[in-house]
Structures are given as structure tokens and as C-alpha cells.
Symmetry: D2
Subunit: 297 residues, 4 copies
């Protein structure tokens, strides 16, 4: 079943809020997201800044202990203007080098959906980059009835700012509240690894996604999948701990679903694993442990 | 000029040792490296374990303040047997998960240069991976007359275990001692990101490289280049600090050589940068900040 | 005014929950806390485990932008039995050493309020330590309407597990919600630095505290004070970031309230500062930056 | 036997250098150290900056696998002028706060040995602190024939900048080279925890120490002892790893020398351990795990 949902209010945290819509296992939702600053498709500020989320969506049948699969069917920026910060964040350079950097300001990009490019034209430089629209922040309600700021992330997902969350990908989240309570927002028209200026090209978007409930599918951290790869996500600080979470989750996945021994999984990962950086800017950083499906037999 | 050098002794540290050969700016060296465990092309142990280095090579004209460019012309494993550890390292998984892991042991691979594959055949699994031979450890003598174990790495290079140091690549090191004193060794037939089992496929190799002295070319961290990308390397702990070193070095490079302002360089990196993981196993970890040359005009 | 409040329900997160009591600026509350495992003064489990909080208390007049001062008047364990884990946590030892440790279990202590000691009597050892009762977890509702698990901590306070939060001390929290919404619980009869076994001696307690609202007193992190010292608290990961938060907060305090220049404050801290470890076990660690009042003129 | 040694040259690294003196097990050495900047008792620059070391001293009978005990008999600043930096280091504050700090400069202190105070008199402030002279940098030659900059530290000791290395204390180092090759220098007239301005009060000094060789006394990290406490030292980055090294070393010490089980040692440390910060400024940070001797029976 396909639902069309037009949001009029948002949340700046991910939590056990009143659902905006109840949907079934296998259903598809067509909706809209506003940008990280609260701006809508007309670039009008309609909500307070800080990654306002569309949702939450209640998925019938989802219980703690299940996993929620979310296939990202479409992520389409729906206006011409996007915003980025224009100086690398203080925490991604050597501490003494911070003094050599100017203060960051917000700059505008022209986002051309037809040409599939974004262009910035400043006095001193211009730059055109290809669009790769992605979801910056999405996830399900965390456990203990928590409501956690969309500035950060955790086992429930959240503000991972990973440029691999693009259309065609399926994300998996560990369900911790009845109905899962799925939130989505913070689309970036494009973003480099690490989100090192503190933003991607922040933009509003039309999004479509399809959910599936995987009963009694235990997982501790978000997972992802596309045609060629599977991956696991660690959200924490420092990056070292992200790696620990993501690698442990991948080891568990290979052992439980692919029936590998610890030695087999280790040997495979040791020589074939890829790591991607989500973000090194938010309160919790994000690293991804990724493996080609060709190794999974 | 081409030099053929057949090593008979090695160093387990990188430092201001007596040069084994003096070569000129622009010269090429054809030599051999033994494996991380001290084994030669006949898999005979000829030196104590711990990344024994071939060298150092004294490059005429190289002075502190210069950079040494080293083009990796050839990295060819020269025997059939390679070795890896077979359990992920304790520091790359969640601390409490360590108890669930067996103890690592060394396992053998059959390295087939003609088929360009390596195959492991254990009782419980087999695995065949394509060869991508790389240099695990290389660099120049550090400053202050230091001699630093080849277990670790720093501004001078060292045990970076980055799977991007393959044939065709040019590496750049900041010269800190007269003659640069270049060391090379620790070839891996292949290695996943992070070297998370603590080894690549450790193997002896025939290597060929060509050096160039870049006078008064200040840099603080190793850099690299291939046809499509430039990159900078940060060697430190935790990974966050590697990122700080590598990103600062890239910002400096873009400003000094490509005449970008800090805002221009930031905006470009913010939306286009890639980060690769060298290793998250050695005493110093390695992260790489990489940018496509197409962005450099 | 003195309020006596006998709790019957608790929260396992700190957030903008319905207040259990409204009190005035300057009021004192006499109440009880249950232990981290949910056990009351009779060692009966009355709530689910995970640092259940007494409260929240709504303080009249407290607004975002103010600070809440909480003087800890009394922290008195109110039963004989306390609990600790008995093996150091996996994350506080070298990763490879984890394999040499047995699995932790909960052990009982006899807490003797009259003798002011706690004694453990195991088959292989006995140990008697002096009581220094402290608050493991307390704080005010965080911003954005968040509700955050009492497993962790942040700018709003939370599970800091700092053994300096003892009777006689005044704590200061940055108010982020109307009425501040103060929570308190998780008393430890005693605890070493770092909470390295993952617990102090967990116990229920009679507690008394007195609140004061400091209007328009901006602060970013919790602060504390006793007769001889002032301190600031950083809650984050890794410990390095705790130090950054706590030191920045102290620099700001010395500049704003004690009218020191940055050079004066730096020189004073540089030669006279003390750092204490709260915990290195919880999701967010805690470090304290402490300065003797004698230096404040 | 007592040796008087007047140094005329120094080393800016700790390594297997030619010994300046051979001494016996149990011998005492009376010597001098110059300051971190290379200045002697007349405040004349006699060596290049960067913690120049007096030594190395070869101790007869010390072999790899032994430990070297060094009792610090006397640490007496031998001139009136001392130097500190005057702004907190960029890495100990929040990254974005760095922009609010002025650039550090060196400032002078008047060190009065008779009054046991040091006084700084700047235009905007004056400050007098009591002297607690300490050794900033000392240790033995590292393994593999390494020579490692006195900017940093490791298992062999080095630039720990721990303000607990004062007269009366005995330090223990794991011997890794024949004769141990002990180096000493970098005295601070006083220093706060963490060395957060990047210096203590840097000064030249008269020092006296007495060595003892402990045969086949395996240890992995430096240890220390005074009348009331024993401690272990972890030198690494980030602070979390320092804690891991120091805590593991303490667990091993309690098990091997005090015959505690892992549960006994854990329970004791869990409720009674203290952690001190050496430095959070040098390339390797330092944390100390400290336990009162009263707990050792």
C-alpha cells in the first residue's frame, strides 16, 4: 500500500512521539523532508533549525527485538537553493591550525535537478559538483523511552551523515519501541566523506521509502545493503569506537547469517573489508564497515 | 641510472643508519624485501621478525627541508607462500566481545603470481582473493637522529600499512636527515582496509623504485599521488588525530600549490573529499585524506 | 521551606517528565533514592534496573539560561547491603588482556553506617573500606525536550559517577527546561576513581538537598564547589574530550567571575590545576578540572 | 659508591648512546640537568632545546628482562629564573575555543629556593606558588636499538611530565638494553596536572639518584613508589589508552607480587584506586594508576 503524507510539524529529536501515520509491513510512504535549518521546498523557514524530522511513522507489527528494513526508493531535492558551511570544522584539523582558519559562514549553492549538479559561485571561486542525494538523519525510536537530539546518533540510527544512504539502498534498524517509530529528514544534495565542514549541501526533498518488519532479527547497530555490498554502522566517539561497534556487528552478521566461523569471518574481513567514514563532525561520529557480496557465496 | 642492490642485512627501525647505497636524484633502484617475519624469497628466516627494512639508501642532494619523491615502479611478490593472522585484533572490536574470539594463529596462503590470486585452504573454509601488492612500511630517517621501530609510523612514514601504496603511485616524504636515508620493506600481497587482523598477506618481494629530490618543498606528513588522486597521510592515535594531521596537510597543500583560499579549499573538501583507512592496528594508526585531481583545475 | 517526598515511581532517563513536586528557590527536599539496580531500603526490587531517578523536581522561577545550584546536604545509605561488580571492565585494560580476565559477577558488601565502613567477605579475600557516600547520577532536564538514558551523561549532568559529589558539596547545572526538572539517584556508599569495575557500592539512601536558582548565570557544563575547591565537569568520550570541555569551562569561569585574563587564568591553571577522573566506564566518560580557592584571591 | 658527574654534552633523544659513566648496582650519582630549552645553571644556552638529557649512565649487571629502580634522592633547582608558556595548549580546550585564545609566549618566574616559592610578575597579574621540584623526563634506552625523541614517552619512560616524580620517590623501568642506559633531565620547579600550558616552570637543577638492579623483574610500563603509595604509568594517546596500559600493569603487579586473584585485585581497585594525570600535552600522554600501600597488607 502506498501512503502520501504531507508533514506540517516536525521533531528535533528522535523519540517515542505520537505517530503521524500508521502503516503496514511492506507499505510505501511518499512524503517530504525539510532541510537541516528548517527550510521547506520554498526555502521558507517553517520549523526551528537542527535536522527537523518528518514522522514518526508507526509500523504495524514491529516490536522490540525485531528489525525494521527501510528501502530508500527516492531522494529528490525539491528546490534550487542549497546551503553549506564554508570552512573546515575546528575538530578535523590540528588544534594549533584552528587559529589560521577564518570563521565559517553559510554559502548558497544552485542545485540543478535536471543537470544533476550543484554549483557555488563565490567572488574568489566557483565549483560545480554532481548530485548524489542522501539521507543525513533517519532512524527509529531509541529504548527506555528516550528522545535524543537529531544532532547526534546511536544504535537507533540518527544523524549519521553517511553519504552511502542513497536511493536504492536498504537500511536496517534495531526496533526498540512498539511500532518502531521511524523518523526521516536532513537530506544532503551531496556530501564529502566526514561532513568536515559540518554540512552537506542542505536541502529539502521529496522522499519515498518502503518498510519491512523482520521479526526477531536481533541487531545492535544499523546495517545497510545495496546490490553489491552489505555494511554495518558504528555511531560513537572517537572514530576508534565507531570501528569497534561496526566491526563487531559485521562479525556477528557473518557468523549468524552466513554461518562463518570467527576465523573464517576474520580472514575474509582482514583481507577484503572496506571502511567508510560517515561523519567526524557530530557529537557521535560514524564509521561504516563494508563488505562486497561476492564474498558471501 | 639504475642500481641493482641485493640486501644481506636489514634494520628493524627507521633511522640514521649507515647507508647501504648512495644514489643520485632521479635514479632507480631494483632490490628485494623480506617479509614482516624476516623470511626471504625461499621462505627462509634470514632476519629477526618485525618488518625488517631494506636500506637505507642515501640520496645525493637531499637535505632537511626538502621532500623525497619515491615512485613505486614495481612490487612483485617473489615466492608462493604468504602468511596472515586469522582473528580480528582485540582493539578493533568492542572490548567485551574480545572474550568471544579465539586466539589468533598464523595461517598460510598460496600466492599465485601468474593467476594474480592468493588462496587459503583451511579445514573449515577456503578463500581466493585477487593480488594487489602494496608496501606496508617505508619512509625516511626521522629528525633528531631518532631511530624508530618499524612497528609504528610518523611524519617520516613508517609502518602505515595503507593499501593504496601500490605500483604506479608516487609517495612524498619530508626529508629530516642528510641524504634522506630511505628504507623500504614489509610487502603485503593484499590487505583489507585497517589491517584488522594485524597482517596483510605477508610476503617477500622484488621491488623497484625511482627517487626524486624536491628542493625546499616543505611538508609535515607523507603525501601520495597516482593518475587520478592526490592524498595526504596522518599517522597517530586515535584515528581522530590521524584525520586532523591528514586534513591539515591537505589544506596546506591546496593553499600553497593550488593557490586556493581556506574557504575554497574547505568547500571543495567538504563536498568532495574521500578518507581511506590505512591501519587501525599498529601503535600509530593511519588515515588518508584523498582528493580527485579533476577538482584541481 | 522543607519538603519531605517519598517516591513511588522513578525514571530511567533524565528528561522533561511530569514533575513529582514543585518547590521554591531556596527550598530543601528530604527524600529517598533507590539503588542502580532498582532496589529500595529493604533491598526489594521496586523498579527496573539502570539508575532509576527520584524526581523530577520543578523549581519555581528556573528558566533556560539560568543555573540551578544544588547543595548536597546529606547522603546516607539506608540499608546494610551494597553491591559491586568484581572484575575490572573490559575497556579499562589493554584489549588483549581482556582474555585473561574472568567474567564479572555481582558481589555483596556489608555496609555499616555506624562504623562507617563497608566490608566484603569472599572465599578468597576480605576487604573493609571507609564509607564516602556520593551521588552517581543527578542533573536537570536536557534541551530540545530530550529524555536521555541514566546510563550516560552530558552538559545537563547525568551519570557522571564522580566520587567528589559528596555531602557538603554544591553542584551547578545549566537550566535548559522550565523549572529545571531536577533528578537524583544512584548513590554509591564508596567508589574508586573511574568506576572501573562498572559500579561503586550500589545502595539505596536517604538524601537531602537544597536548591537555589542563579538567574541568567550562563554555563555550558556542570560545576561544583566545596569549602576549598571549585571545579568544572566534562562528560564525553574519549577522556581527552572531557578534558577539553572541563578546561574550557574553567577558563570561562575564571575570566567571567574572577576577572582574569586568558594569560592569567592559563598561567594559574598551568601550574596549579588538578584533574580528577569521574568515570571511564559509562557511554560518556567524566573528567573534572579542579582549582583551589586559595588561588582566587 | 657515590659518583659526581658534570655533564658537558646531552642527548635530545633517549637511546643506546655511548654511556657517559659506568656505575654499579646500588651506586649513587650526583649530577646536573639543564632545562628543557637547553639552559644551564647560569641561564646560558649550552645545548639545543627539547629536553636535553644528562647521561646515559650504564648500570653494571642490568640486562633486558630486568628492572632498574631509580630512587630520586634530590631535585634542587640551581638558579633563580624559570620559564613557562602562558596560554593553555590548543589541544586541551574545545576546538572552537582555540580562536578565543591569544598566542602563547614564554614568561619568566623568580624561583626562590630558600623561600621555596616561584613568583611571576606580569603587568596584569602576579602569582606566587610553592616549589615542588620534579623530573619531567627520564628513562632507559628502549628496545630494538631505538632512539626516541625526548618530546615523547613510552614503556621505557621518557617525557612523562608527571608531577609525582619528586624527591623521595623510587621509579622502576623495564630494562631493554644492556646496562639499562639511564637518562635524566627536564626538571620543573613546579607543574600542575596535565602540563596544560605545555611547560612546568622549566629550570636547571642539581640532582642525585641511586640505582638498583632488580634481576628478572618483568614489567611492561614504568612503576613508582613512595612511602604511602605504589603506582603504574601508561604513556600513549588518547588518555583512554594510557588508562588501559596503567591499569593492566597494576593488575599484573597486584597478582604477581601481592598474590591477589583477578577478582580480589579488581574489587580493591574498583573501590580504592586513584588516577593522576601526568601530561595531556606531549605526543604521548601520561596517566598514573595509584594505590595506597595500606591496602596491600
Amino acid at each position: 500500500m502506498i501512503h502520501r503524507f504531507n508533514p506540517t510539524s516536525y521533531h528535533n529529536a528522535i523519540g517515542s512521539y505520537e505517530p503521524v501515520l500508521r502503516i503496514g509491513d511492506g507499505d510505501t510512504v511518499i512524503t517530504k523532508t525539510i532541510d537541516a535549518l528548517g527550510g521547506d521546498a520554498n526555502d521558507q523557514k517553517v520549523w526551528q533549525r537542527g535536522n527537523p524530522m518528518t514522522g514518526p511513522f508507526y509500523i504495524e507489527g514491529a516490536q522490540p527485538g525485531d528489525a525494521l528494513a527501510v528501502r530508500l526508493d527516492k531522494i529528490a531535492p525539491n528546490r534550487r537553493v542549497g546551503y553549506t558551511a564554508d570552512v573546515v570544522a575546528a575538530n578535523v584539523v590540528d588544534p594549533h591550525y584552528v587559529r589560521e582558519l577564518p570563521k565559517s559562514k553559510m554559502v548558497k549553492w544552485d542545485v540543478d535537478a535536471k543537470a544533476k549538479t550543484a554549483t557555488i559561485t563565490e567572488k574568489e571561486y566557483t565549483l560545480t559538483v554532481p548530485l548524489v542525494p542522501m539521507i543525513g538523519c533517519f532512524g527509529v525510536a531509541p529504548d527506555r523511552g528516550q528522545a535524543i537530539s537529531t544532532a547526534t546518533s546511536g544504535p537507533y540510527g540518527g544523524n549519521m551523515d553517511y553519504n552511502g544512504w542513497i536511493a536504492g539502498v536498504t537500511a536496517y534498524f534495531p526496533v526498540a519501541a512498539e511500532g518502531a517509530l521511524f523518523h526521516i529528514g536532513d537530506v544532503h544534495a551531496v556530501q564529502g566523506d566526514g561532513e568536515i565542514v559540518g554540512t552537506g549541501i542542505e536541502i529539502s526533498a521529496d522522499v519515498q521509502f518502503t518498510v519491512r518488519v523482520l521479526k526477531k532479527k536481533a541487531m545492535e547497530w544499523p546495517r545497510g545493503e545495496n546490490r553489491d555490498f552489505i555494511w554495518t554502522v558504528g555511531n560513537a566517539r572517537p572514530l576508534d569506537q565507531c570501528i569497534q561497534h561496526a566491526t563487531t556487528e559485521m562479525m556477528r552478521w557473518l557468523q549468524s547469517d552466513y554461518k562463518m566461523s570467527a576465523r573464517h569471518a576474520s580472514t575474509l574481513l582482514g583481507q577484503c573489508v572496506k571502511y567508510d567514514m560517515g561523519n567526524i563532525f557530530d557529537p557521535a561520529f560514524t564509521m561504516v564497515c563494508r563488505l562486497a557480496k561476492k564474498w558471501l557465496g
